[in-house]
């Protein structure tokens, strides 16, 4: 663990209008995430886990407060700069895998590198290596529709880490998987976390994930009510 936080939230609030009333999805959250952390955000539905993940990932902007990535305040970034930041520094894993259906597993992973300006050859070579790491070396030419849920999520993980981002944000990554696949996926993420030092922030209801996390942060009504190290 490093001393300088990769992510820092200072008094972050996110409010949504709901008719005449205002709902505070995130309420005055202060948080520091360090390089190499393996964090699970947990809490009841509507507690603010996903909203917090979106704010950290630059997918959404806070109503007040500030999110820092490598000490740079995200509010100072334009939309285009935030897009570049997501491409280069943040990996995303979604509950529904969200792979590009017209691309093979290999192309899905390589696409991130190609969008960064890598040559086709370099991108494919690097992606092949990552897919081997996640155990999909024999399936890399299959399209998402030809893969199981667990396999698709592995591709999503490969896509998230292929560009060696500072941080990987995973939103309910095991929600659509059975317990066996969930376990395997969790082990894979932990392995990558330990081998590559990539920071993982996972939002989940899944007790397996909560148990596996080194740091557990519980949210309720948009506030952090519990933050503990394993």
């Amino acid at each position: 663990m490093f001393h300088s936080p990769v992510i820092e939230c200072q008094g972050v609030c996110k409010a949504f209008a709901d008719g005449d009333s205002v709902i505070k999805a995130i309420d005055q959250v202060d948080l520091e995430v360090f390089g190499g952390d393996f964090i699970c955000l947990y809490g009841a539905s509507g507690s603010g886990k996903t909203t917090l993940l979106n704010l950290i990932g630059g997918l959404d902007r806070p109503s007040s407060g500030e999110v820092f990535l490598d000490k740079h305040p995200l509010s100072h970034y334009s939309d285009d700069e935030l897009t570049d930041l997501r491409l280069h520094k943040i990996g995303f894993i979604f509950q529904s895998y969200n792979l590009v259906p017209v691309f093979s597993a290999l192309e899905n992973v390589a696409f991130i590198l190609q969008m960064q300006g890598f040559s086709n050859r370099d991108a494919l070579a690097k992606s092949e290596y990552i897919l081997q790491q996640v155990g999909l070396s024999k399936l890399m030419h299959r399209h998402p529709a030809e893969l199981s849920g667990g396999q698709q999520q592995r591709v999503a993980i490969a896509r998230a880490i292929v560009a060696q981002p500072k941080i990987v944000l995973a939103d309910e990554p095991t929600a659509n998987l059975d317990s066996k696949n969930s376990e395997q996926l969790l082990q894979l993420m932990k392995q990558l976390n330990q081998e590559l030092g990539t920071t993982f922030i996972i939002s989940s209801h899944d007790p397996q994930v909560i148990q596996a996390a080194e740091r557990k942060i519980e949210l309720a009504d948009g506030k952090i009510i519990h933050d503990s190290l394993a």
Binding site: L59, V100, V102
Partner: protein, 423 residues
């Protein structure tokens, strides 16, 4: 970012666009087919229409008027012997130097009364003095000789060729003599005996019953019109060549004929009825074609736009992963351009094959010959591929693509990155 990196990115965007195109094969093929069939139909119909116009122009203008004429400026309004011109000394040399000018001939015309020798029948006619050898390659009249010949015997004294109906009305046979009574350029009587050497049948009643032709030299002698004419009739291989030739040739002729005033009359001026008929037909046809094209374009654009709207989450995902809205809209524009271009290419290919085939064999309309003859065209028509027939449909589709690309860009610019809440 270096240019090379930018190239890699653009390539990836294009690759994704190409893959997306075939995501729903049936839909893409249906859209592509709609564009291809529309292109095929419209290119062929336009080619057929322009081919018909071409035939109409060729056949009408080849009958008498040629592709252009040089006249006295007053001749069009008052076509009498006073409104002629003196043939310039060097005109023949100037005309012979024009490589694109294939045929030319001088003519003079007047009105006269023709009578048979028994004086039992007479008719007022338009009498035209022509240069027979030149007219043979210039005017289709000489190819429609129904009896006798078209001034083939150069030793024949005062030969005359009449329309078939006119000869019948005067009860004349080939070899019969007839009397011409007219008024020369100075107002004196012009009287001469002519020998009927041929009759023509043009399927145009007015010409068959009212037209007579004699040699220009005889005309000039009879009507005191030495070295003068009223029309210099010009013809090139293709009508368009005359437009290029017109200005420099006319300048040279005018210089040589100074101080005479001359007037250049192109085919539109010579045959305003034909020109206006074609223009009106083009206008009404384009109205129909545009309506048809508009319907197809709107259907295609609607399909494309719907496919874009239903992929909103996918674009939001790409944006979340780090793709800029400008790159997404570029990808979509490229997708649409690919689809439209493939459809146009297929349609073009088919239309060129179909049109090329009918350009060779022609299209015949059995039983329509009489109707077509009224417009001076034969029963077989040939499509004519042109820049206009090939370019009209692609132009409309590409303009529509441009509009669509603008709409897509506007819409995608507002897209937000995918968040888990949207799933």
């Amino acid at each position: 970012m270096s240019d090379r990196q930018q190239q890699f990115i653009n390539r990836s965007v294009r690759q994704l666009a190409w893959r997306n195109l075939w995501r729903h094969k049936t839909r893409s093929w249906l859209t592509l087919s709609a564009i291809a069939i529309t292109t095929l139909l419209l290119v062929f119909m336009l080619s057929f229409q322009f081919g018909t116009y071409d035939t109409m122009k060729q056949q009408n203008l080849s009958l008498m008027s040629g592709f252009a004429q040089v006249q006295n400026p007053e001749f069009a309004e008052r076509p009498n012997l006073q409104n002629g011109f003196t043939i310039g000394k060097n005109w023949t040399a100037i005309l012979d130097q024009q490589s694109q000018l294939k045929h030319y001939s001088f003519r003079a015309q007047s009105f006269a009364i023709l009578s048979n020798l028994s004086d039992s029948k007479n008719r007022a006619v338009q009498i035209i003095g022509v240069q027979p050898q030149r007219e043979k390659s210039l005017s289709s009249l000489s190819q429609n000789i129904s009896a006798g010949n078209y001034f083939t015997d150069q030793n024949q004294v005062m030969p005359i060729v009449l329309g078939k109906q006119l000869a019948d009305a005067l009860e004349l046979k080939i070899g019969d003599q007839l009397q011409l009574l007219g008024q020369d350029a100075y107002g004196s009587l012009a009287v001469e005996l002519f020998t009927l050497v041929g009759t023509f049948d043009l399927n145009i009643s007015e010409l068959n019953s009212q037209l007579a032709q004699i040699r220009l030299s005889d005309f000039q002698q009879l009507f005191a019109y030495q070295n003068k004419a009223q029309q210099l009739v010009l013809k090139t291989d293709k009508l368009e060549q005359m437009d290029k030739l017109a200005k420099p040739l006319f300048q040279k002729l005018e210089q040589d004929a100074y101080p005479q005033n001359l007037r250049w009359r192109d085919w539109k001026d010579l045959q305003p009825g034909l020109y206006q008929t074609i223009q009106m037909d083009i206008a009404s046809a384009f109205l129909w074609y545009s309506a048809l094209l508009l319907i197809v374009v709107l259907i295609v654009l609607n399909t494309l736009y719907m496919s874009i709207l239903e992929r909103h989450n996918e674009f939001a995902l790409l944006h979340a992963l780090g793709m800029h809205p400008s790159q997404i809209s570029r990808m979509l524009s490229f997708e649409m351009l690919l689809l439209i271009s493939l459809g146009l290419l297929l349609g073009w290919l088919l239309s060129v094959i179909v049109s090329a085939y009918f350009m060779q064999v022609g299209i015949t309309f059995p039983g329509m010959e009489e109707l077509f003859a009224q417009f001076g065209i034969s029963g077989t028509l040939y499509p004519q591929l042109s820049l206009m027939s090939l370019g009209f449909v692609p132009l409309v589709f590409l303009l529509s693509w441009f509009l669509m690309a603008f709409m897509v860009r506007f819409r995608i610019a507002k897209i937000k990155p995918l968040t888990s809440r949207q799933l």
